[in-house]
């Protein structure tokens, strides 16, 4: 169930999601937060088992903090996606897979990035991506109106349209839209702790 989308722009990244959590044919929650911020530069959009995803997000948070403390400079988006994928792969090979498909969106020195990490442990870098039961519908919208050189504001609009379209026809998605925008580092006056 779920519809989540992620779009990379020239200004950073945009993540979008619906708010429905399904329990079979029952709507378990209408206000689920499927986009989790890891810090000011990284966020994850969650499709699949929420508990599994939460666990992975917490692990990545801890690992990122440790790595940054140890080496003295921040962890890139790609490295963070790899941390998640490694965990997923370990789970798969131990016959206890994490039932998740995550969109990892964030910004680093190189700019914005969207990565798709699934339960197989695979990661792919994408310009835009969608996941969850509503993703075929969302992709229809994204494929037809996505273009490079978008601003975050434009991407926000497209992400909203994509999730809204999925919510119209996918029974697993609905109850409103959440959007998160992460501007690239040069666009924000960065107040780093430590």
């Amino acid at each position: 169930m779920t519809t989540i989308v992620g779009i990379r722009t020239k200004e950073g990244v945009v993540l979008g999601s619906d708010r429905r959590a399904s329990k079979g044919f029952f709507i378990g929650s209408k206000i689920t937060q499927k986009i989790t911020k890891i810090d000011d530069t990284l966020a994850v959009a969650i499709a699949g088992q929420l508990s599994d995803a939460d666990y992975m997000v917490k692990l990545v948070k801890a690992e990122r903090n440790l790595i940054e403390l140890r080496r003295g400079f921040p962890v890139t988006v790609k490295e963070s996606a790899r941390l998640i994928a490694n965990q997923a792969y370990t789970g798969l090979k131990n016959y206890q897979p994490y039932f998740v498909e995550l969109l990892v969106g964030g910004v680093d020195q190189e700019g914005g990035h969207i990565f798709v990490a699934d339960m197989s442990g695979a990661i792919t870098s994408e310009e835009f991506a969608s996941s969850g039961s509503g993703s075929p519908i969302a992709y229809g919208v994204l494929e037809s109106i996505y273009h490079k050189d978008m601003t975050n504001e434009q991407a926000k609009e497209i992400a909203t349209k994509a999730v809204a379209a999925a919510m119209e026809r996918d029974p697993g998605s609905g109850n409103g839209i959440d959007i998160l925008t992460i501007p690239k580092l040069s666009l924000v006056v960065k107040e780093r702790r430590r």
Binding site: K58, K61, A62, N65, L66, L69, R70, R194
Partner: protein, 226 residues
């Protein structure tokens, strides 16, 4: 016969068990090693905690080791003793801090952190292994306020307002005890810690400092002034 266990390592058949006087030789040796480490002090009031450590000069082309370490956003630490042991203990604390966040979804309190470190160190005192030759001073902020702890190789930990470890730490702590007041300012505390280390070493030393204040709630290294 009279000298068995009374002084040297070589006389003791089992150096990792209690000696005749009820002392643990290995732990004593570790403390002895700490006593030869760089002079390191900590000062606490209700509004801030400052840690400061002497940087021993190295060869011109070699950068000296880092001595002040961020453990998590709200806590930092320094140490005296074998630098390799200090680094190991610092990493243990960083892992403990992240594990606490993972388990409880909140930053670790400083007493728990000191206890975890104490427990780690204590393990080395009950087996036939080498105890870590490092004492650690921890400065941090938690819901109970500003905290300052010292943890020794034996696993002993103290909470307090002023600590000194390493070479000539007796002289350093004397200086701090004489001039410490609860309403001391940060600038005064910096001066006092400098003076304590200076008096201990008898020369103007190069130091590295770290501070956590109740106001901004984060631990930061202080930019070198002297």
């Amino acid at each position: 016969m009279a000298d068995i266990g009374s002084s040297g390592v070589s006389n003791s058949r089992y150096p990792y068990y209690y000696g005749p006087e009820g002392r643990l030789l290995l732990v004593d040796s570790a403390l002895e090693a700490v006593g030869r480490g760089s002079t390191t002090v900590g000062i606490k009031t209700s509004t801030f905690a400052l840690i400061s450590s002497h940087i021993k000069p190295t060869k011109p082309l070699v950068e000296p080791s880092e001595k002040i370490f961020a453990i998590d956003g709200h806590v930092g630490a320094t140490g005296s003793g074998y630098i390799g042991d200090i680094l190991q203990l610092i990493d243990e604390m960083r892992i403990a801090a992240q594990k606490y966040r993972f388990t409880y979804d909140s930053p670790i309190d400083i007493k728990s952190l000191a206890r975890q470190l104490s427990s780690y160190l204590h393990d080395f005192t009950i087996y036939a292994v080498r105890p870590q030759a490092a004492s650690i001073i921890i400065a941090g902020l938690d819901p109970a306020g500003i905290q300052l702890y010292q943890v020794d190789p034996s696993g002993t930990y103290f909470s307090g307002s002023g600590f000194a470890i390493g070479q000539y730490s007796d002289t350093a702590i004397d200086t701090i005890q004489k001039e410490y007041t609860e309403d001391i300012t940060i600038a005064q505390a910096v001066q006092l810690s400098d003076r304590a280390i200076e008096k201990a070493l008898g020369e103007k030393p190069l130091v590295e400092r770290g501070i956590v204040t109740a106001k901004d709630a984060t631990f930061n290294k202080m930019v070198a002034a002297s």
